[in-house]
């Protein structure tokens, strides 16, 4: 485990050098949180409660989601794909540490950084402007942390699969963006799933994407307790294993295509 821990730790440290970008990003998340919140409040002005969620829930949800966006990486990275395109992937495969494990560790390093510097600022501003609902017990905070950690793994699993397409089509921007737009929508980034009509909500909940944003945000709101909470975390864990496992299978196939030049 030691090398993976080091990869995560160093990635975290690397991230701390981009202060300007971090500030700009947190600002953007906050602006989007404010705009979404006002739109949702206009909707809630007509109805006090929708599917068991009131206006405070909805506004809180918005700021939690804005804070999670970078943590779970819903805009997709192209770092892995870029290294496949440039051929540097060969060096990565040579390393005496698991290829997928290396990138997962890197992802967790980034996630920890983003959780602090991109996750907290929008929540603070949101709480200053609106009435938000924070977890009232330590156990809810812990459940939220665990749920977020699992969401990172699910997001990683999906992004890893998308980036592996670089082994076949080189310019990965197309599939990457297409895959992430679908994921964003079904994860509840544009609007929370509890505003979806019943049939669409059922579809979204049956797919892995709800595990990326919707479920951690619901956990934050304390909507799941006891056995129900265990069930939610189990669903996330299953999707993480399925997607990461699929990534391993595809990688095994892809690596057979790699031809190393030189000598």
């Amino acid at each position: 485990m030691r090398p993976y821990w080091e990869v995560a730790r160093r990635t975290f440290h690397k991230m701390t050098t981009y202060r300007g970008a971090t500030f700009a990003g947190a600002f953007t998340n906050t602006v989007f949180g404010l705009l979404s919140a006002y739109i949702l409040l206009a909707v809630y002005a007509q109805r006090p409660s929708i599917n068991g969620y009131d206006a405070v829930d909805a506004v809180t949800f918005t700021f939690v989601v804005q804070g999670l966006l970078m943590v779970v990486s819903v805009f997709g990275d192209t770092e892995i794909a870029d290294r496949i395109k440039s051929g540097d992937v060969v060096i990565d495969l040579y390393r005496p540490i698991d290829y997928q494990g290396y990138w997962l560790a890197e992802r967790y390093g980034k996630a920890a950084f983003y959780a602090i510097f991109r996750g907290i600022p929008p929540l603070i501003v949101g709480a200053l402007v609106f009435d938000l609902r924070f977890p009232t017990s330590v156990s809810t905070w812990l459940a939220f942390l665990l749920s977020t950690a699992l969401a990172v793994a699910v997001g990683f699993g999906w992004g890893f699969l998308l980036q592996l397409t670089a082994f076949w089509i080189l310019d990965v921007r197309g599939p990457n963006q297409l895959g992430w737009v679908i994921a964003q929508f079904l994860a509840g980034m544009f609007i929370p799933l509890f505003l979806f009509p019943a049939w669409l909500m059922a579809i979204a909940r049956a797919l892995p994407f709800a595990s990326i944003l919707q479920l951690p945000a619901e956990t934050f709101l304390g909507k799941h307790e006891g056995a129900d909470l265990v069930g939610v975390l189990a669903i996330q864990a299953v999707w993480a294993i399925v997607l990461i496992g699929a990534g391993r299978l595809v990688l095994a196939r892809a690596v057979r295509r790699v031809v190393v030049q030189g000598g």
Partner: protein, 265 residues
């Protein structure tokens, strides 16, 4: 002359992009999907309520279409200036200053990405469907206001893009800051700006004039009242605002270039 060079560069970039054909079409599809998702959000919200700030579903879709076409045009032709921050960071911005064509022209031509065209497709379809469905007594003024609004909207978005990108000359990592006004603006203008709190509404009227992109003109077309304290002639002010935005954007961009110091050792 600049226009001819621009045309050549854009054509070359288009041919280059077609080399990665699968990715090109997937990206085009994803751009279409983004604006499609924005529309689905409006439709979903209206499954829960019958009006948002007293605007009906077709009225909000009308806003969506106007904003989407304006933003799509700006995204296709101007948004590339956002990449200036990458060129400054990499030290490759100098080459733009050495060539006999304005840096803005070069950036928007060299980074031209035809795949972005997907963004405006969905709003155009929605506009075609929603115009006859709107409960409006069409007058010549209202009819004329539709294309004027689209053009002015695109110009205002473009000016916002250039202004926000000018920040890159002062702050190296400013692209995301710019995004909150451009993509944030696209998101915001799809809804009646009346929903915002008073200070944010003032900000988007007087500081970053996104309310003129489609909200003020559309309010006149569909007979919705403007927020209090907003004079009714604001509905017709978009061309003046668009022109003023361009003047300001141009000045800030030039100021930025004059401030520019090359990176490197």
């Amino acid at each position: 002359m600049p226009l001819r060079i621009y045309g050549h560069l854009v054509a070359a970039k288009t041919r280059a992009d077609f080399q990665y054909r699968t990715s090109f079409f997937l990206y085009l599809a994803s751009q279409t999907l983004i604006s499609f998702a924005d529309m689905v959000v409006v439709l979903i919200l209206f499954t829960q309520v019958s009006s948002i700030a007293s605007w009906s579903r077709s009225q909000v879709l009308f806003l969506y279409a106007l904003s989407g076409i304006g933003f799509g045009l700006a995204d296709l032709f101007i948004s590339q200036v956002g990449l200036v921050s990458r060129h400054i960071k990499a030290g490759t911005f100098d080459q733009f200053l050495l060539r006999p064509l304005g840096a803005l022209w070069q950036l928007s031509a060299l980074e031209f990405a035809p795949r972005r065209a997907g963004r405006a497709v969905q709003p155009v379809i929605v506009l075609a469907v929603i115009l006859p469905a709107l409960d409006v007594q069409w007058t010549p003024v209202k009819v004329a206001l539709v294309p004027i609004t689209v053009v002015c909207g695109a110009v205002i978005f473009g000016a916002v893009w250039v202004t926000a990108s000018s920040l890159a000359f002062y702050l190296v990592n400013s692209q995301e800051l710019a995004n909150s006004f451009t993509y944030g603006g696209s998101f915001l203008t799809q809804y009646p700006i009346d929903i915002l709190g008073p200070w944010l509404r003032r900000f988007f009227t007087f500081a970053v004039p996104l309310a003129f992109v489609c909200y003020f003109p559309a309010a006149y077309i569909v007979d919705q009242p403007l927020p209090e304290s907003i004079p009714s002639w604001f509905s017709f002010a978009a061309p003046v605002i668009a022109l003023a935005s361009v003047v300001v954007a141009r000045a800030l961009w030039r100021l930025g270039i004059r401030h520019y110091r090359s990176t490197g050792s």
